[in-house]
Amino acid sequence: MELSQRKKYWKENLKYLSILLTIWFLVSYGFGILLVDELNTIRLGGFKLGFWFAQQGSIYVFVLLIFVYVRLMNKLDKKYKVNE
């Protein structure tokens, strides 16, 4: 693989990582911890929203994030022909 291609592949990879990790930070440290009091004033059925993010919501998002990452990377691998 060409050096320039490699660099491009790595750069796109890093772009995906930073987007996905930002979401990861937002739902857990953001909604579940730092903003928990503000979000607790909003209700989701019997749940206070901040509490829900801390004990349920963030976990659902984590699972989703990994599968989105798998999809994105599989597509990227194909684009740069490094898939197997």
Binding site: L34, L44, G46, S58, I66, E84
Partner: protein, 591 residues
């Protein structure tokens, strides 16, 4: 049938299954022993990782801790799942591409240094032994309650079973046993949870049930908040820990999860880089089933406890209460002499455990010698929440037996994974890589097996002399993993400039400061115990959360030192280039 008969049958059947699988999948080469031959499918690896990862602490301890700490318990929920995102995105694919057997292998090669390899081996042993102690105590708790044997006998039985399949099958045996153990443990966890959710709210899905309303039309969480604040506790959904501490503990558990050697080693067993990514996703999915149910169980259990025992005369208490009192995990002292149980904030006893003496007091309760001066009369060991829950809810005996089997599956699968890391660290990273490079495969396999025996004996010793609560001991292992491995591996992949000097000094600094802090503020080994309380914590960070600080120190030291020393050799930079490209992973190989 009696609970005990059911337990013998169900636990006996599951043990027979594990041993059967071990015989069917025994390892013939070191490659099979270390990485199961490298041909595990992503789905099977996901299942095995989930079982490997979910320990006695997750199965038995976590719901209990959340039940007693409310919102504060979120640190375990987010911390122990969020780490998988880091693992999947930052570590697993690259380590799989690297294609060797162990984490010290990666550290040793990437940092072209046997010193780095040795530091990694020491850290791996340290983390694994701290962690395995909690597992063996979990095995003891389950056995003593449900098979009515001494805790020590329970630990011996557990040791014998783990030894059998770890010795025979290595990673290959462990992988397929763990797949079976996942099925047992998730079934055992979900069945009572679904029943209890149905009974409490009419909703069979616990994740939704605990946000629903009970028969009286009041939302369960609001009812619990009300019950607690009325008696002077902090509201369940608020918690008492400071924001800083919650932040740091969550981070330490996340980075720790991503740095745990027995989890990382599992990603070496799949055929391709693509599979490593995918199996991290499966692993988290299977883990999330339990981790989103545990907070629901916690709410049901806490509400149940508050409603059942509060101001109930001891004479009228349900039988589960006295049964657990017999095992010493519940204690009641009638401080105000009214014959009723008052459950209030504060510790009911002085010290960590109730001290029992012979004989019964006036209502038939067990006598203790160390009641505290608070008004609270009830001591409940947090570890019993999951085990006692089916009994409290009055579920049939076979379900109670099933929960016992599930707890054992969780403890044994994790213990086996850890034992493998310990034996691999000794036979591969220490003996093969440092002392006897030209050792034959057969010889190395023998040493691996003997190391497994040694590891089981040490683990058993910790099970018989447990250092503390199941989950809090485990939490410390994370701090150590977060402050040593995680930064070294991440920088090894994402920074081409990171060199030997930086990585080693970073690991040593991170590990040293975290160990110091834990020894000082958690274990009380150094310093004046009077100044090791909450007020003296640095920046208000608890020992459980200090791993995050250790990790930051590790990163900082490594980055500074690497700037003042020479860059890594050309060959190493090529390794880094190479692991960033997924194709051509091929088999994991030795060199």
């Amino acid at each position: 049938m009696e609970i005990q008969t059911w337990t013998f049958i169900i636990v006996g059947l599951t043990f027979a299954l594990y041993i059967g699988i071990a015989i069917w999948s025994r390892a013939g080469s070191t490659k099979e022993f270390y990485i199961a031959g490298g041909g595990v499918s992503p789905l099977a690896n996901g299942l095995a990782t989930a079982a490997d990862w979910m320990s006695a602490a997750s199965f038995l301890g976590m719901a209990g801790i959340i039940a007693f700490s409310g919102y504060d318990g979120s640190v375990y929920l987010m911390g122990w799942t969020g780490g998988y995102v880091l693992l999947a995105l930052l570590l697993a694919p690259y380590l799989r591409k690297f294609g060797k057997f162990t984490v010290p292998d990666f550290i040793g090669d990437r940092y072209y240094s046997n010193v780095a390899r040795t530091v990694a081996v020491v850290a791996a042993l340290f983390v694994s032994f701290t962690y395995v102690a909690g597992q063996m105590r979990g095995v003891g708790v389950v056995f003593s309650r449900f098979l009515d044997v001494e805790v020590n006998t329970g630990v011996y039985i557990g040791m014998a079973v783990v030894l059998f399949y770890a010795f025979l099958g290595g990673m290959k045996g462990i992988t397929y046993t763990q797949v079976a153990q996942y099925c047992v443990l998730i079934f055992a966890f979900m069945v009572p949870a679904i029943f209890i959710s149905l009974m409490a709210t009419g909703n069979p899905i616990p994740q939704l049930g605990f946000g629903s309303a009970g028969e009286d039309g009041v939302y369960l969480l609001d009812k619990l908040d009300g019950l607690m604040t009325e008696l002077g506790f902090t509201a369940y959904t608020d918690g008492t820990k400071s924001k800083t501490d919650v932040f740091f503990i969550t981070a330490a558990l996340m980075m720790g999860t991503a740095g745990l050697p027995h989890v990382i080693i599992r990603f070496f067993t799949v055929p391709k880089v693509k599979d490593a990514r995918k199996s991290a996703g499966y692993a988290l999915l299977f883990i999330a089933i339990l981790y989103t149910t545990a907070p629901a169980i916690a709410v049901f259990a806490r509400t149940n406890l508050m409603e059942t025992v509060q101001d109930t005369p001891y004479k009228e208490i349900p039988s589960w209460f006295t049964k657990w009192e017999d095992t010493g995990l519940i204690a009641w002292t009638d401080k105000n002499g009214d014959g009723k149980i008052q459950y209030l904030p504060g510790s009911a006893i002085e010290g960590k455990k109730p001290q029992f003496i012979e004989g019964r007091a006036n209502y038939g309760q067990r006598k203790i010698t160390n009641p505290s001066t608070t008004a609270n009369e009830l001591y409940v060991d947090r570890d019993i929440t999951v085990l006692a829950n089916p009994e409290i809810a009055g579920l049939p005996n076979w379900i109670i037996a099933l929960v016992a089997a599930g707890g054992l599956a969780a403890a044994l699968s994790t213990a086996a994974g850890l034992l493998l890391v310990i034996s691999t660290s000794i036979s591969h990273d220490l003996i093969k890589k440092q002392f006897a490079r030209d050792i034959s495969d057969k010889r190395e396999l023998l040493i691996a097996r003997l190391s497994a025996v040694l590891a089981v004996i040490v683990a058993g010793y910790f099970g018989i002399n447990p250092p503390g609560f199941v989950a809090s001991v485990v939490a410390l292992a994370f701090g150590l993993a977060a402050s040593s491995f995680f930064p070294a591996i991440v920088m090894g992949i994402f920074s081409k400039r990171m060199n030997r000097e930086g990585a080693i000094s970073g690991m040593v600094a991170g590990l040293a400061i975290t160990t110091y802090y834990i020894a000082r503020f958690k274990l009380g080994w150094i310093g004046n115990p009077e100044t090791s309380g909450t007020d003296n914590w640095w920046f208000g960070i608890s020992p459980e959360g200090f791993g995050t600080m250790g990790m930051l120190v590790n990163f900082a030291v490594a980055l500074v030192i690497s700037r003042f020393t020479s860059p890594p050799p050309e060959k190493v930079q090529e390794i880094v280039e190479n692991i960033r490209i997924p194709s051509g992973a091929g088999d994991a190989i030795e060199h």
